[in-house]
Point group: C2
Chain length 193, copies 2
DNA sequence: AAGTTTATTGACTCGTCAATCAACAAAAAA
DNA sequence: TTTTTTGTTGATTGACGAGTCAATAAACTT
């Protein structure tokens, strides 16, 4: 029953299933069979399309990073002026798509993966550099020479809030997460003004 | 060639080897045999003393948390007054024992472990609660009602800085890590003063 | 209609690894 | 000195899981 053009659909289903499976399990120690089952296909097919488990993970990670990027860009679209743009970047970082249980948990796991996997590490570095550069750019006119340090601090704080959300039970609290980071930003800005 | 009283020595060696192995591998996917070899014994002996791989990991995690607690307490010993004590807690969090490559990496991995392992989760919660409570207690006289939020922010920032250090290449920069967190603290305090 | 490409899976291989066990060795206790 | 306790390991078991393969089938091409 081969409906042609299945490839992109299958790939997407696998990526989604991977994030869900890893997120639920809270671990990368999930089997290709589990992922494939959740995506409604055999493990052989998963291998057929991705070649290896590693590639499946990388695709899932790319998907997460892409989603994250899209949310930041979306928030940034309507923001004018450095402060508004900074707030947008922060808000985008806690977007509804990214700041969800499974995604957060998957994120944490991919973080660990990038300790071993060069490509995963590369992806993460790209994301971190871009975020930091964005922040620094908007911070420059507001806090001058402190821009670099504040950008790093904000980046680390965002990661920290994510990681803590991964561990907290119950649904992660976006509002609260956002508040913590926004207040940090406000303190940094008010000193300088 | 049984030298008596080997148990505590073997256990300690295994714990140390576990942290090193997990830290170097950057993953929990290390074998008991690898750990045991590094500790200079057979895998059978590791099982003999700990019963299971899980127990070995938990012991290693306890060891890390104990070390961390000791460093904070050490820093706290000579500090008087809320601000000095806050600085001590932060400094202790980046102590030379805890803020080392393998330990940081192991820490990150145990963080992931606590998504699956109830006992690991419990341990981590205890540490987080204690840290937050300590911070809150010293913050109260300085920032009043904001104490809770600032304590959470500091905790998250510390975790975030750790996690980023795990990914950075080369030796982790204690000074810089400390500076980021200390500056955050200073901003929060100067607003209120 | 024959041939090719795409989709799909069940069954299998091969390696790995946690955990167990039987056996051996040396110290301590009886 | 026998017995028991403590220390130690090589060999083995049993399970599990990534990746391969042969086979089947439906579409699309010529």
């Amino acid at each position: 029953m081969p409906k042609l053009g299945a490839e992109p659909i299958r790939r997407a289903a696998l990526v989604k299933a991977t994030i869900e499976t890893v997120g639920e399990a809270g671990s990368l120690e999930v089997t290709v069979a589990q992922i494939a089952r959740r995506a409604g296909m055999s493990s052989a097919l998963a291998h057929h399309y991705f070649g290896s488990k590693e590639q499946i993970f990388l695709a899932a990670m790319r998907s997460i990073l892409t989603l994250y990027g899209a949310e930041v860009r979306g928030a940034l679209a309507t923001a004018t002026g450095p402060e508004a743009r900074l707030r947008a970047i922060v808000a985008g970082s806690f977007g509804v798509g990214s700041f969800r249980r499974e995604v957060i948990s998957a994120w944490l796991n991919f973080y660990v993966l990038s300790q071993t996997q060069p490509e995963a590490r590369r992806l993460l570095h790209v994301y971190q550099r871009r975020l930091r550069s964005n922040l620094r750019h908007e911070l420059r006119p507001l806090v001058g020479s402190r821009a670099e340090a504040v950008a790093r601090g904000l980046g680390a704080l965002i990661d920290g809030v994510y990681i803590r959300a991964a561990l907290a039970e119950g649904a992660p609290d976006r509002r609260y997460a956002l508040k913590i980071v926004t207040e940090y930003l406000e303190r940094e800005l008010e000193g300088q003004a």
